[in-house]
Structures are given as C-alpha cells and as structure tokens.
C-alpha cells in the first residue's frame, strides 16, 4: 500500500513538470509577465522623458491652431486651422492619391495582364519587358526619378508645354481647366442619376426576361443611349449651364483652372506604373488558372471569343485574382506614405512630419497616424472581402 502511494506520488511529481498543460501555463505566464514588465518599463521611460522635456500628454493639442501652411488641401485650411484640421487634410490627400492610383493601376494592370497573354509575340514581350523592368526597381527611386529628373527640369510657366491651349505642363505642375457649374446644372445631374437608375432597372428586367422567355433584349445598348441622350437633352434644354475656367498665363504663373501639384503627379505616376506591374501579374496568373477545357467547352458551344471571355474566363479568373488584388490595393495605400520624401502633403508628411515637429507630441501623433492607416486597411479589406464573397465559388466543389 505504502509503496504504491509513494509510486503514485513520484509519478505525480514527475508528471507535473512534464505535464503539457502545466508547462503551457507557465510559459504563458512568463510571456505575460515579460510583456507587462516591458510595457511598464517603456511607459515609465516615456513619462520621465516627456516630463523632462515639458510636454503635456493627451489629445488636447488637436484643437490648438497648427500654425503651418499646407500646399494642397481639399478642405478650407489656413495656418490658423487646428491640428485636427491638418490631420483631416492629410487623410484626404492620402485618400486622394490612393484612389487615383488604385483606379489607374487597375486599368493599366488588367491591360498588361491581358496583353502579356496575347498571341502577338511582340506585344507580349513588350509587356513582359515593362513588367520585369519596373517591378524590380524600388518605388521610392521611381517617385524621386519622376519628381526630380522628369518634372523638376520642365520649363517654367512661360515656356510651359501645352496641349491645345487648354492643358499646360510646367515645373509648377499640371494646369487643367476647372469646370464651373451654374445652378441649372442640378437638373442635368438629377437626370443623369435617374437615367442610370432606369438603365440598371432595365438591365435587371432584361435578365429576368431572358431567363423566362429565352429572348434577348438589347438592354446594354438601350441603357447606354438612355444614359447619354437624356442628360444631354436636359443639358441643352437648360441652356448649357457649364463653363470651363481655362488656365491662362498672367505674370509668372498661371491663374484659373486647377493646378495638379508636381508632387501629386510624380507620386500618382510612380504608384500607378509600379503597382500595375503587380496587378498585371495577378491577372495573368488568374487567366492562366482557368482550365483550358473551360474555354474549349465554351467554343464548342458556339460562343464567340469575346463572349467566352466575358461569360467563362473572366468570372473564373476573378476568383483567383481578387484576394491578391485586395492586398495590392492595401499595399498601394501604404506605399502612398512615400509621399513624405517629395513633400506631397499626405498624412505622414503633414501630420507625422510637420505637425509632430511643431507640437512635439510624438507618442500621440504616431499613434493617431498608425490608427488611421489601420482603419483604412481594415475598411478596404472589409469592402474587398465582401466583393470576394460575391465572386467566390458558390456551393460545393
């Protein structure tokens, strides 16, 4: 009896050290302890350093006047505006260049991916050469190249390159005409809205009509006509309420029109050209992932090449393309922060750069900046995951 108990005891003692659950618990406790210790150590140091520098922590500084100017802002902003306004200006500028980059790089990327698979040897090789050259050169170098080597040496406003006296390109940026909407333009906008709504309904109806009766109705052509003709008619009937403010040279600079800053132009070009190579590769791999039998079957059913592409290849390719496309968009948004090196007033430049130097609130500003990027990333991935669910394979295998 006694010896048996002792055996049990020994096994019990031995097994506590070898017990997976116990060891896991100890390991986690140690990690947690180290983490808490590190956090305490760092916050203590931050507190000490900030008190020594005489900086009060907290977010009160956001409502104080910022006292610096920003070269481009989509909202009203002056040096008397608050830090919160500066933050908003930065966020909007980041979103602006990201949206421009996403739209253009998607178009160029799909184009590249498709022509890389073209049976035309020359065009396919050209696309391949473009892809291999551009994606193996750092984006930052490309941004600087466009900004300092191409846009900066352009002639001044007086000798600006011009395209039909409407668009001017000089070292101050790109000058384009600004549309001026009169009040009557509202009617055109409303008509356009209803025309789009109507054509969407028409397409929806024609689909149901086709599944019910098998007869096709040329919904796309009719809706195109609707969207073009109706607003145009309203536009002329209300007396063409749209004028253009054309940039003109006055003195040493242009007045009127919209000025696209060279920083924005360089960043936009570089982001578009660079990201398009990656998107092109995803599109290519997506199209190549569609089984050849699918295309052959569609051709055997008598679909024309274009219908084969639209009904068979693209829907299946999109399933493969969408997930990497999402992460590429996220990368583009994050890459737009490289704006800081050429001085485009994006979130990092305005807020984590100028505002940080002005206010000295390093901890809060870095935290806000990162939180904004995290939010944008999260929103884009939510949106695109929703789209991904829509195109993903439904049902079983």
């Amino acid at each position: 009896m006694l010896s048996k108990d002792r055996d049990k005891e020994q096994i019990g003692r031995g097994s506590l050290l070898n017990d997976a659950g116990f060891r896991a618990g100890v390991a986690q406790a140690v990690v947690l302890l180290i983490l808490v210790g590190a956090v305490w150590f760092f916050s203590y140091n931050v507190y000490q350093n900030l008190t020594r520098a005489g900086i009060t922590t907290g977010f009160a500084f956001l409502s104080q006047p910022a006292g610096f100017d920003v070269s481009q802002s989509l909202i009203d902003y002056s040096s008397r505006s608050t830090y919160a306004d500066a933050l908003l200006v930065g966020i909007l500028n980041t979103l602006l260049v990201s949206a421009m980059g996403i739209v253009c790089s998607t178009i160029l990327g799909f184009f590249l991916g498709v022509i890389r698979l073209s049976p035309n040897w020359l065009v396919a090789k050209l696309a391949a050469a473009y892809t291999e050259i551009i994606r193996n050169i750092p984006l930052l170098l490309q941004i600087l190249f466009w900004y300092l080597a191409i846009l900066a040496p352009l002639p001044g406003p007086r000798l600006a390159l011009h395209f039909g006296e409407l668009v001017y390109l000089c070292n101050r940026g790109l000058q384009v005409p600004r549309p001026l909407f009169a009040e009557e333009f509202l009617a055109t906008a409303v008509t356009l809205f209803f025309a789009v709504l109507l054509s969407l309904l028409l397409i929806f109806w024609s689909r149901r009509h086709q599944t019910r009766t098998g007869r096709r109705f040329p919904a796309y052509w009719v809706s195109l006509a609707l969207v073009v003709v109706l607003p145009l008619a309203t536009f002329t009937l209300t007396g063409s309420p749209l004028t253009w403010e054309i940039p003109t040279l006055s003195g040493f600079n242009f007045s009127g029109g919209i000025t696209v800053l060279p920083e924005l132009l360089a960043l936009w070009l570089a982001l578009t050209l660079y990201t398009a190579t990656f998107i092109g590769e995803y599109v290519r791999s997506g199209i190549m992932a569609v089984d050849r039998g699918q295309i052959e079957a569609a051709r055997a059913l008598g679909h024309r090449p274009w219908m084969t592409y639209r009904l068979v290849v693209i829907p299946q390719a999109m399933r493969v393309v969408t997930p990497p496309l999402i992460s590429q968009y996220l990368t583009l948004v994050k890459n737009s922060s490289l704006a800081v090196v050429i001085g485009y007033p994006d979130l990092v430049h305005v807020f984590a750069g100028t505002a940080l130097n002005q206010s000295g609130q390093a901890v809060e500003i870095i935290a806000i900046t990162m939180a904004v990027y995290l939010t944008i990333s999260l929103l884009i991935s939510l949106l695109m995951n929703w789209y991904n669910r829509a195109v993903a394979m439904r049902g079983g295998q």
């Binding site: 990690v31 073209s118 080597a149 901890v363 990027y373």
Partner: protein, 479 residues
C-alpha cells in the same frame, strides 16, 4: 506486268507555316487586329528606343574626370548623358563616407560574402569535397593577394571551419549520432555557452588586454552554442549555419572596427551601396527567424501567445514601413531611459526586421497550414517534443513549400531598404540624392537615378531568377 508504285515527291511545306515567314505569320500577323498591334508595337519601339539609346550610349560622354569634360561635350556634339559624374563619384556611391584608407575592409567583407554565397547557393556546381577545398583555397589566396595575409587567414578559417565543425560534431555525438551536446539539459547547455564565452573573455583580458576580447569571446560562445545545440550534420549544412551566424559577426567587427587594430568607423560614415547591402542582409537574416517564431506563435494553441502574435502581425501589416521607421527614429529614444542611446542605423534595422518578420510570418503560416495533419500526428505519436517536431519534421517541409513567397519578401525588403533615406541614412538612393546636391555637379539627376536603378534592378532580378531556379529544383525533388 508489275507496276511499281512510286510515291509522289513531298511538296514543300506552305511558306506561311515554316521558317521565319511562318513564325512572322503566326506570331505577329495572324489577323488584322494582331497586325495592327504589331505595327503599334513597332511604332512605339521606334519612338522610344532610339532617342533613349542615343542619350544613354551613343551621344553619352564616357571620358574625362571632371565637370568641365561634360560641359565641353555638351557644347560640342555629345548631347547625351554624362556618365563621368558616376565615374567620379563611384567611391561615394559604393562606400558612402567610409574613410578611404579603410575601404578595403568593405571590399573584403563583400568578397568573402561573394565566395560564401557561391558556395551555398550553387551547391551542385561545387558538390564534391575536393572542389569545396579548392574554392576555399582560391578564396583565401585571392583574399591574401588583395588584402594581405591576415584577411587571407580569416578567409581560410571561414572556409575550413565547416569541415572542422562537421568532424567535431560527429565526434562529440559519437558513432551512432547519439549522445553528445544536443542530449544535455538546456540549462546546462546555456551555462556551458555563457561559461565558455566568459572564460575566453577573461583569459584574453588577462593575457592580451581588453582589445578584441569581446569579439573573441563572442566567437567562442558562438562555436560552443553551435556544437552544443546541433548534432551530426553535413558540412553543407554547417556552411549555411556559419553564413547566418559567423559571417554577420565577422562583418560587424570588420565594418565597425575598433578591435584588432582596425580603426573605429562609426555607422554615420557608412553609406552607399555597401549600406544598402548591410541593411538588406541583416534584415533578411533577422526577419526570417523572428518570422518563423511569429508564425509558430500564430498557430499555437496557447491563448496568450496566439493573441500576442496575431495582434502584432495584423498591426504591423496594417501600417506603412515609413511610419514604422518614423516610430523607430522618433519614438524609440522616448521609450528608453535618458542616458541610453541607440545607434540610428540599429534603430532602423530593428524597425525593418520586425516589420518584415510580420510579412514572413504570414508566408510561413501558409506553408505550415499546407503540411498534412498526419505529419504532426506522427511526430506527436513518436513522443517528440514540440521544438523537435517543428525543427526536424514540419519546418523543413513548410519552408521548402514557401520559397517563392519568401523570395518575394526578400525582394521587397531589398527594395524597401531605400526607405531608410527617409530617416536620414545615406543608402545608395540617399547618397545619389546627396551627390546630386553637390554644387559642382548640378543637373545630373537622370544619370544618378538611372545608375542607382540599374544597380537595384540587377540585384532584384538576380534574386527573382534565383527563386525560380530554387522552385524548379525543389519541385522536381517532390515528383
């Protein structure tokens, strides 16, 4: 009468099916649309290529050694690029502001790297032991000829250490590969490593003085640690291990100096291509192990570790590298006590390592998930511990699966080293920008960027080709 059947002679194949004409018809002019595309392509090439080639090569100015050579050429006929700028500034582009008499150290470290990489990256070329011996001798000989006897000796040691270690590890672990260092308890091993290093440190200090003691102690501790944690392994494996451990140690002491009579060169003198390679290399070496740990943590069933790893990875992947570098340069000093100050380069390296570790972790997680469950279960059924299972069964298979993903990450890491220019380090791009600002050489922006771009392109293209080669190599081994 017998009529002999004679086959008609074969007709020549249609002209549009064979030869150059056939190739043209099939690949360039198969339809009207295709012909239009081809013509468009040709027009584009004619529009873009000749002016660029004229600017970059034919009308470019290659000779001379000062600004006046370029100006004279522009006055005359040669209106193209002026590569003299690159030629004159080559030293700065390669070494930054590293003092000129010490630049041989940078050369030495990269020559050693070239030989070491040749050895591990192209194992099929140099498989037999004899050829490896020959390579070691060639490397040591050329190092001795280029840099002197002592560097030659270092190279000789570096190249013959794998053989020595393989023999020693085999000897320690006994003929059956059992027993030996790896069987000892972990605390004992740690104590032996620390003790070995400490004893070496004290011995050097008492006999030779403080100089170089730390380097030698680290070296001894490294060797002891390697021998005590690993078992019988082939010399080829030892080469990889030395490249990841001993080489960085050597490079660190050689580049920084301050030991063995090498003058100290502080990191703010470093720059140019060598700094780019230092940042990229140390980023790769540190990010991969951290990434492996994070991936294991993310797959772990322990809630605390899992949560920590998931939140770290997701946080880092949601923010741009620029903001991480800003944090490293602005917030890091705030996190530390007043008198503690980290080197700017080190801060950037830490930022890059942890940033890329998160990305590598996601790639590796993909590989871990692709390993069949039976592999885990078999290892567990054999009673193997977690680390043994991961190290010997799961990770070797998982890492092999994710080679393309890892190579992609290495590639973007190499490209993203340019971002250290944001916090004021002068890597190749930063130095190019600084060289342009030189009042003597204003207006050579295009040349500087095209040169820097070409250098980056060569490295990135080499990495991507190598990853394709590896992928093929390991793919065939699975068939």
């Amino acid at each position: 009468m017998i009529r002999e059947w004679k086959p008609k002679p074969a007709q020549p194949s249609p002209i549009l099916e064979t030869g150059f004409g056939g190739w043209l018809a099939k690949n360039l002019f198969s339809s009207i649309g295709n012909s239009c595309l081809t013509l468009l392509g040709i027009a584009f090439l004619l529009w873009a290529l000749p002016p660029f080639l004229r600017w970059a090569i034919f009308d470019a100015n290659w000779g001379g050694d000062s600004r006046s050579a370029c100006d004279a050429a522009i006055e005359g006929v040669k209106t193209g690029a002026c590569w003299v700028f690159i030629k004159v500034r080559a030293g700065v582009f390669l070494y930054g502001f590293y003092p000129e008499p010490e630049r041989w150290r940078v050369d030495f470290i990269f020559v050693l790297l070239a030989f070491a990489l040749l050895q591990v990256l192209v194992p099929t070329l140099l498989h037999p032991t004899r050829r490896q011996f020959a390579l070691g001798l060639v490397a040591a000989g050329s190092a001795a000829a280029l840099f002197g006897l002592i560097p030659g000796g270092v190279v000789l040691l570096y190249f013959f250490l794998p053989f020595l270690l393989a023999w020693l590890a085999g000897w320690i672990s006994g003929p059956a590969g059992r027993g030996g260092g790896a069987e000892l308890a972990v605390p004992l091993r740690v104590a032996l490593v620390l003790g070995g290093g400490g004893v070496a440190y004290l011995l050097i200090i008492s006999f030779f003085g403080r100089e170089g003691a730390l380097a030698i102690a680290l070296f001894v501790a490294l060797l002891a640690g390697l021998l005590l944690t690993t078992r019988r392994m082939a010399a080829a494996t030892w080469r990889w291990i030395l490249l990841g451990t001993l080489y960085p140690l050597l490079a660190y002491f050689f580049l920084l100096g301050g030991v063995f009579g090498l003058p100290l060169v502080e990191t703010h003198f470093w720059g140019g291509l060598s700094l780019t390679l230092v940042v990229a290399g140390s980023g790769m070496i540190t990010a991969l192990p951290i990434g492996i740990l994070l991936a294991l943590g993310r797959r772990s069933r322990l809630p605390v570790i899992n949560t920590l790893c998931v939140s770290f990875i997701e946080f880092v992947r949601g923010v741009p590298l620029v903001s991480v570098l800003f944090m490293a340069s602005v917030m890091f000093p705030l996190l530390l006590p007043e008198n503690v100050n980290f080197d700017k380069l080190l801060r950037a390296l830490v930022g890059i390592a942890f940033f890329y570790a998160a990305y590598m972790a996601e790639v590796i997680r993909g590989g871990l998930q692709a390993i069949p469950k039976g592999q885990y279960e078999a290892a567990e059924a054999l009673g193997w511990t977690y680390w043994k299972m991961m190290g010997l069964i799961i990770l070797p298979q998982a890492l092999r699966l994710v080679i393309p993903g890892l190579a992609n990450n290495f590639l973007s890491l190499l490209k993203d080293t340019t971002l250290v220019a944001v916090i004021g380090l002068l890597d190749l791009l930063g130095i190019a920008k600084a060289a342009m600002a030189d009042v003597q050489w204003l207006g050579f922006t295009k040349e500087a960027y095209i040169f820097a771009g070409l250098v980056f392109w060569i490295f990135c293209f080499a990495i991507s080709r190598y990853s394709v080669y590896l992928e093929r190599k390991y793919h065939t081994s699975y068939q």
